[in-house]
Symmetry: C2
Subunit: 543 residues, 2 copies
Amino acid sequence: MKKWKYGLSALGLAIGMATSGISATVSAAGPTLSEADFDKATTLYFQRCAGCHGVLRKGATGKNLEPAETLKLGQKRLEQIISYGTEGGMNNFDDIFSKDEISLLSTFIQMEPPVPPEMSLDMMKEHTKQFVALKDYPTKPMHGRNWENFFVVIERDAGTAAIIDGDTKEIVAHIDTGYAVHVIKGTEHHKTDHPKDAVGRFWYTIGRDGKVNKIDLWQTPDKMLVAETKMAYDARDIAVSGDGKYVIAGGYWPPHFVIMDAETLEPLKVVSSRGINVDGEYVNEARVAAIYTTPNEPTFMVAIKELGQMWQVDYTDLENLRIEQIDSAKFLHDGFFDPTGRYFQIAANASNKMVVVDTQERKLEKIIDVAKLPHPGPGANWVDKECGPVGGTTHLGEGAVSVWGNDPMGHPDQAWKLCYEVETDGAGVFIRTHETSQYVWADQLKHPEPEVQQSVQVFDKETREIVKTIRVTEEEGKAALHMEFNQDGSEVWVSVWNRADASNPTGEIVVYDAKTLEEKHRIKGLTTPTGKFNVFNRINHKT
Amino acid sequence: MKKWKYGLSALGLAIGMATSGISATVSAAGPTLSEADFDKATTLYFQRCAGCHGVLRKGATGKNLEPAETLKLGQKRLEQIISYGTEGGMNNFDDIFSKDEISLLSTFIQMEPPVPPEMSLDMMKEHTKQFVALKDYPTKPMHGRNWENFFVVIERDAGTAAIIDGDTKEIVAHIDTGYAVHVIKGTEHHKTDHPKDAVGRFWYTIGRDGKVNKIDLWQTPDKMLVAETKMAYDARDIAVSGDGKYVIAGGYWPPHFVIMDAETLEPLKVVSSRGINVDGEYVNEARVAAIYTTPNEPTFMVAIKELGQMWQVDYTDLENLRIEQIDSAKFLHDGFFDPTGRYFQIAANASNKMVVVDTQERKLEKIIDVAKLPHPGPGANWVDKECGPVGGTTHLGEGAVSVWGNDPMGHPDQAWKLCYEVETDGAGVFIRTHETSQYVWADQLKHPEPEVQQSVQVFDKETREIVKTIRVTEEEGKAALHMEFNQDGSEVWVSVWNRADASNPTGEIVVYDAKTLEEKHRIKGLTTPTGKFNVFNRINHKT
């Protein structure tokens, strides 16, 4: 690689020399792979590693994996780490990758990372398709089901979303989506008074491959998939504007967000998220993590993970786009609103902090120190006897639920301070509750021991004590994760993830009575069920 | 160079393959240079070519010079173009470069461009120095001169700024600045009522090498240089906030802008200008061209050249930074305000347009079609008998001054429409007038013929006709450029640029009577004098 020099020394201007970090050159020394193996490793890395370590491997939630670091560890140690994980929060992958694949990946990460291409607005437009024309959208539901109690369920490794009738527990449809959909969001507000614009009717999926799909829950199952586009090669989150006009999706690569027409998915506006992080350093791979619609303002909250900045993006005028770039902490990941909808609470996971943004003032409200690697997923808000309204999060890095006050008006002394912590058996990914429930549920997906990974724990809002540990499955190669309440809060649905048999529909959802905590039902025939979105609860923020 | 592939075809996800454009690998085929020659060519290219063509050579005001284009032309044709220029607006360089240098550059631009390094906030802090401590700043002028009629003059190739007494025509000082300073701006508003915060006292220079210097006009000549920092490797413009607290400077490379403490030049905030252009495509080299303080709002106008976006940056809260990204047209370069200070008028030069931003509403007001490659420099506003208040610009691409109405309140029918054009003998870079003058002056620096390049033309605001062509110099290798009025508008100062003898102080400024247009005085002993900034006129926008 050619070194850059201005060579202005003749003018007395000594300038620091450095090589750019952005290049796809293969190191002269070190291990090599055939082109076919390199491509295979690139794919494996993208599917399972890039999320935490980045495609350019600069590190984020996971460590830096550039050759300068990995060559020091060497092939054997890297294989061990990938196989068995680490204390630091790295998963074991020996049940997901073969030995050959682990060897391949260990070599690959000792080589320079390839730089993926950009994606222009015109390229996105070529991917935009209508499966059902707007004029053919029905004006009333075309089935007799209670669609407001539908669950839209991610079937991660199948690249589909299952629509499940919450009343009958029947699987209504498996809808083709992008690969490994991360999040699904629905329209939260009426666009017009016309019944066709009913809240909760349309749902938008974002695949890890950047594919966006629009689902119409009023359609018959064969027609529910109504539109599609693609806005990135690697993506994580999506949201619908408060006025129902726009959908916004965030790219991990290219690092950007895209605002689309919510009716047709036609991409309208692309904004790069590359920028300068809170330490004053340029980040090429500055990825868009969570994206949410602010309930009370005409804006989106866009979390730029590596920058440690929340961007509050005003969608009232796309051609004169107003953005507040709110400095907070690295590495932003997933968040949720307080019950008033004014404050957005988001994990800066590798900083062990929860960041709070005041969406009314469009500025940082507070940063709260919590336990290791917070990850609230959809989050949980409830009322504590001492602290008043509180929010809580699980953690990827330890078995703990951190709980903080989130009512600065009513409880200023407790607001944005740690109220208490609940110790659980294992590090987890998701927390959930419901306004009608006396309990808070936490999963333990990140714990290496099967019996813990397969159990969720339930604690009482009143006593702050764990009241039950529920073994959701005992089958080898399966794990329990992600809880969702049904429409009236009487049931809790927990996913059983068939991680070791990911290509078959051997996963299930186990339904519990929200009061007695007893098992009621098992919904079978699902492939790696992950996130679940109950229409009524998500639209009405019944967390 | 390793090609990027996700290789997800097994999942049915065909993704377009492409190699990234950002790399410093030298092509396998094609011409080569020794490392020493490559470094020398890199320096020459940076100093004379990168401004128009970009360090990554993707093109902007000038054409794309990546190997895919240049290899088609070949060594001989490239040497001819560099030597003699083109009809399209490319300068001749046979009087600036030697034959060997032209040969070297022709080879260099057929090779892959090297990618320069980034510059972090911490690196900038290491360059920040106080030559005079804040506590030692005088509280009144330390000399008896009329400092409000000082001219701060860029001595381009000497890397200095000359301070010239406008009353006596004496050169008061040559102050060390960055290389080839592009712009110098002063404080336009009182920061406090304290005399030490007087408007027009402090001036800030920005070098092409990104060096920022602070000049105190109240000091004795030996102490006028009070502080320094460096915010980029390649930069063009600078501004002082309306409240006098901040200085902002824009980088060509790295493509970013930096907000500094106006007292100490301590860098406080860096914002990347890389982004998505108005065509929806990512631009790595998205350079910051003009930066201005808005007279009526607490904001800066930042022109992102390659994006075709004006960013209106609010400086009231740097940690929750509000930016309006205003879509307009490529390639934004230099601009000026209308007389009310509400509208910013800026050239999108390669689009042959003037862009108008409404800084009160923080949105695009209008785009006006003008002649080829508009370049207003400091710009000119006056009152026309038919169109009312108007603005005007010279053009790099043809001998024409375009004049448009700029009073939407008083003259809505004429506002933001072409009022008339004045044909001049040659393409130019600068236009200038004064509210007390009946004339508008235009230079013709871009014309290849010496007699035109050495002459400026003057037209009458009333008759719209050219009344005089003034041959400012007849010396070989010299050119006439850039006009500036003195404090009371009675004189016009024109630079004589010693382009063929750039390392010696053989340049001069010729002073004309603003009414009779007769020569009054020649100020000698200047090295490549370029832009001149009269303290009173610049601070009070007496254009």
